[in-house]
């Protein structure tokens, strides 16, 4: 009687062991093509600023911050090279270049304009900014995908461009919400 119980127990033990030792592979190792397994592919990797001379309409350069692998070591951080005493139209583009083809996030921001605000700031007095596009709030609040930059005298400084995410709490000031993008470009005004 006792023997059969112990025999049964050892059989159960062996069976369980077999199950135990066959450790399952993680799901994403078995199905590497599962789109949910691709890691964080929904991010912003690139901020691109395109300048146009507002008086003449001529292109005045495209500059970008790019960190396509998201590791915190940007592959590209351009210096904004502008001329003194000119008004530029600055157009911003936000891209996800970690996927191929690259994804343009700018239309999403435009579509969610009521939840976003772009802020420009510089420690120098040599640049002033005026946002020209607005959201659908009443009264409309600035968005910032398009803005006029007025340069003054020559010199070097920095410009910080911040994309604030303010879902349902946008009031036109930078304070509410949290930061989605914050890039500081060096600026050279000649």
């Amino acid at each position: 009687m006792k023997n059969t119980t112990f025999n049964r127990l050892s059989a159960i033990t062996l069976l369980s062991l077999t199950i135990l030792l066959h450790a399952c592979k993680p799901v994403c190792e078995r199905n590497p093509n599962d789109p949910e397994c691709a890691g964080e592919n929904e991010l912003i990797t690139t901020l691109r600023v395109t300048f146009t001379d507002s008086a003449t309409g001529t292109a005045a350069g495209t500059f970008q911050f790019k960190d396509a692998d998201g590791d915190g070591l940007p592959e590209q951080l351009d210096t904004l090279r502008l001329s003194a005493n000119i008004t530029y139209l600055a157009e911003l583009k936000f891209l996800n270049e970690s996927v191929s083809p690259a994804e343009d996030i700018t239309p999403n921001i435009a579509a969610e304009s009521n939840d976003h605000l772009i802020i420009f700031s510089t420690p120098a007095n040599s640049l002033t900014f005026r946002i020209t596009d607005y959201d659908n709030n009443t009264p409309p609040l600035p968005l910032g995908l398009q803005s006029y930059w007025r340069s003054a005298s020559a010199g070097s400084s920095t410009v910080q461009i911040t994309l604030r995410h303010q879902p349902g709490i946008k009031d036109g000031t930078p304070n509410p919400g949290d930061t989605d993008v914050e890039v500081t470009f060096p600026v050279q005004i000649q």
Binding site: L20, C37, G39, I44, G72, P74, H165, T179
Partner: protein
């Protein structure tokens, strides 16, 4: 408690008068005849005097001021026949009574005994069912906070993790009904997935103890235990309601259990809990998006015969926890702006709604346990357990996220464990256990990378022997663990598979000495090891909400601790003292260390942290003192001291619990046979400012100032043969003091919870079969 009633109420005979001197004391200690373990909760009755008492955790009982003469002493314990001993008292007498549980409910006693054995020489504190009834509705972390030496690491009012002697997370082991909890415990905002309503007993074993419960228990072990399945014929149940005022939280929990005389080996239990709370309120304002919702249930059934038996248990836990909106930082500048504000920028109101950011966690636990036992060989038990933990963290979805309903992080961890334990008795004085365990895990993540996918297999072998003679108990044990893991690292920067092995011994040596009827002291030296957690090895990315960029270190070695604890229990009629001192030296303590330069991402700059290993030395003392100047009146003091040093830098360790005192008074009275207990009390919890800070720190804000909280309680317990009802009202932070706690991760953003009133109703019944 209710299970002892039938015995107590049966004894109604009157005492015969004796004219001799009436100053004698009768003391005794009850042990199990087979396992030599002390029996707690045995009822001892002096039949003719109608006097009854229940044995304490060391199996001791005491009757005072007895007259000399002949008595009948009835001793009973759950599930075993009442033993009646004739005794003649002529002087102070010490009895040693052995109770035989061989024939009935052997398994229950064996379980209890086995659990007690594992920590007899260590410092352990048990929160009994009675004390738990005053803490119903609180999370596990908040429940354990009442124990000296245990602190709570919080993420706001709703998420808390127990910290034992300064260590938490993967450095402590939590056993839920005998199964080691396996989830994503590496995260400081990941609360243990346990429903405390299920527990009728929670034990904290402080100090390193890896012997029986496997590796990692550098700080201690927490045992969350339901009652053993019922053996009384009939149906019993318990209903709990706890209502909290601060966040309009409702808790309801019900348990029903039974056992039928036709199949008296078969017993069952079902339990369900639901809780829902809205936004919490700090002293002066609402905390937006801090609601919670939780629903749990469990079923258990057992078939137990003296020679063999089996038990199945399944529990499901599901929670959804709102995260304070103001605590979500996009980058370091956001964090610094939030700290600079004295209160959250959002103008919040009360609401039950939970929006992003929030966590959603589902945990399943299934267990099968079987045992056989014989008088010659002892008992052999096998436990097979499966756990599936799915954690989803929903952060605020930015413009780049197409699907706004998906979580930002998704982790799934599945664990299969098999434990075999052979409890044996070598001789009258020597008994022990030999055990073997195997486990395997698979971890899956989706969406953002923070820790890798991995699978692992671990195995451990242990032996522990215990020698008991006279007033001495000596315990020694040894364990060896081996862990193999394969990790699939898939960051945007690196993709590789790697295999890691860890193995280490652990051990324990301790003794307990009942030096005097009033005094017991014990000393224990234990060693435990912990293999690095997956985040410490392979983390890569911005830690959610913490505004830090964390990088793992795949070359980390296991931590190994050497822990020494000495404790004493001193019991006098007017004083009880429980004090312990400890020192825990942790070799290769894994610490998150700031490194330069800061990580520059498109979200801005983040302070960069890496995992490094340095030796740490944690020492301290816990004191639990109570004075009883007259019957029913208690003055108490609970003190927790901790000094944590980094021996490599010869400096203090950060993020350690500050010194804490609790002083209070409590009055308890019995009004009538039915109104068993009426109580009222007040206490002041005093937490000092953490001043043991390293010379240079990368913390964003200095430790908050000291604070004190006034807590009030009052209640009563009514009892009949069948029903027991307890009702209590407590008020925490009754002065609505505005404070922030050093170990609250939301202290950067908002004040802790203000005044919190609680109303608790517990009703339990037992309907015996006719």
């Amino acid at each position: 408690m209710a299970k002892y009633l039938s015995i107590v109420f049966g004894m109604l005979l009157h005492a015969a008068g004796f004219s001799q001197s009436c100053e004698w004391t009768l003391k005794g200690r009850i042990t199990d005849e087979n396992s030599v373990e002390a029996l707690e909760g045995a009822t001892v009755t002096l039949v003719h005097l109608q006097q009854s008492t229940v044995t304490d955790e060391r199996g001791r009982f005491e009757f005072r001021q007895l007259c000399a003469g002949a008595y009948q002493l009835a001793v009973s314990h759950v599930g075993c026949a009442t033993l009646v001993l004739p005794i003649t008292l002529t002087r102070d007498t010490l009895l040693k009574i052995k109770l035989n549980h061989q024939e009935a409910e052997l398994n229950e006693v064996q379980i209890t005994a086995a659990r007690r054995e594992s920590h007899a020489t260590q410092s352990a504190v048990t929160i009994s069912a009675e004390k738990l009834s005053a803490l119903r509705g609180l999370s596990l972390g908040e429940t354990l906070e009442k124990v000296p030496g245990v602190y709570a690491l919080r993420t706001g009012a709703t998420i808390s993790k127990p910290v034992i002697h300064g260590l938490y997370g993967t450095r402590i082991v939590i056993l839920n009904n005998g199964v080691r909890l396996e989830s994503q415990q590496w995260g400081s905002e990941h609360a243990p997935e346990i429903d405390p309503f299920l527990a009728q007993r929670i034990t904290v074993i402080k100090g390193a103890n890896s012997l029986r419960y496997g590796s990692d228990a550098l700080g201690g072990v927490i045992l969350v235990e339901p009652n053993p399945l019922p053996t009384r014929h009939g149906v019993a149940g318990e209903w709990n309601t706890a209502l909290f005022s601060n966040n309009a939280e409702t808790n309801v929990s019900a348990t029903v259990e039974g056992c039928h005389h036709r199949v008296s080996a078969l017993s069952w239990r079902v339990n369900g809990t639901y809780k829902r709370g809205g936004n919490s309120r700090a002293a002066d304002y609402w905390l937006q998006n801090t609601g919670l919702q939780e629903g749990n249930f469990s079923v258990a059934a057992g078939y137990k015969k003296p020679r063999a038996g089996a038990e199945v248990f399944y529990a499901r836990f599901e929670t959804r926890l709102g995260i304070l909106r103001a605590a979500h930082s996009g980058n370091l500048n956001d964090l610094q702006r939030a700290i600079a504000r004295t209160q959250p920028a959002d103008d919040a109101a009360f609401s039950y709604a939970i929006a992003r950011p929030f966590q959603s966690v589902v945990h399943h636990l299934a267990k099968v346990r079987a045992y056989v036992q014989t008088r010659q060989l002892g008992s052999l038990s096998l436990t097979l357990a499966f756990q599936n933990n799915v954690r989803k963290e929903y952060d605020i979805a930015g413009a780049a996220v197409q699907d706004k309903t998906r979580p930002g992080f998704y982790f799934q961890i599945q664990t299969l464990q098999l434990d075999a334990v052979w409890e044996h008795r070598v001789s009258e004085v020597l008994s022990g256990a030999v055990g073997w365990s195997v486990s395997t895990q698979t971890n899956n993540f989706k969406y953002a990378y923070f820790i890798p996918d991995f699978r692992n297999v671990g195995t451990g072998l242990f032996a522990v022997e215990r020698w008991i003679k006279g007033d001495w108990e000596v315990e020694a044990g040894l364990r060896m663990d081996y862990k193999w893991g394969q990790y699939y690292v898939r960051t945007t920067l690196q993709q590789y598979d790697t295999m890691l092995h860890f193995y280490a011994p652990s051990g324990n040596l301790g003794f307990e000495h009942h030096a005097h009827p009033h005094l017991t002291w014990r000393m224990n030296v234990g060693s435990a090891f912990r293999a690095p957690a997956p985040n410490e090895l392979f983390a890569f990315g911005v830690h959610h909400g913490a505004a830090t960029f964390e990088t793992g270190n795949r070359y980390l070695k296991p931590e190994q601790s050497l822990n020494w604890t000495a404790s004493l229990d001193y019991d006098l009629p007017f004083l009880t003292l429980r004090a312990e001192v400890y020192t825990n030296y942790v070799l290769r303590f894994i610490n998150l260390v700031p490194v330069q330069p800061a990580r520059l991402t498109i979200r801005g700059a983040f302070p960069s942290f890496e995992y490094r290993q340095q030796n740490a030395w944690l020492s301290g003392a816990d004191i639990d003192l109570a004075l009883h100047p007259q019957k029913g009146l208690d003055f108490f003091n609970k003190t927790s001291l901790l000094f944590a040093r980094n021996t490599a830098t010869r400096d203090w360790l950060e993020q350690m619990p500050p010194i804490r005192f609790e002083n209070g008074v409590r009055y308890t009275a019995t009004l009538s046979k039915r109104v068993k207990e009426v109580f009222a009390g007040a206490s002041i919890l005093n937490v000092l400012k953490q001043t043991f800070m390293p010379r240079s720190t990368n913390d964003y804000a200095p430790p908050p100032p000291a604070y004190w909280l006034l807590n009030l309680e009052a209640g009563l317990r009514w009892q009949s043969d069948i029903h027991s009802v307890s009702l209590s009202i407590t008020v925490e932070n009754a002065a609505n003091f505005r404070y922030r706690d050093y170990l609250d991760r939301f202290r950067y953003y908002a004040d802790a919870r203000g005044i919190q009133g609680a109303l608790r109703l517990q009703w339990s019944f037992f309907a015996p079969e006719h």
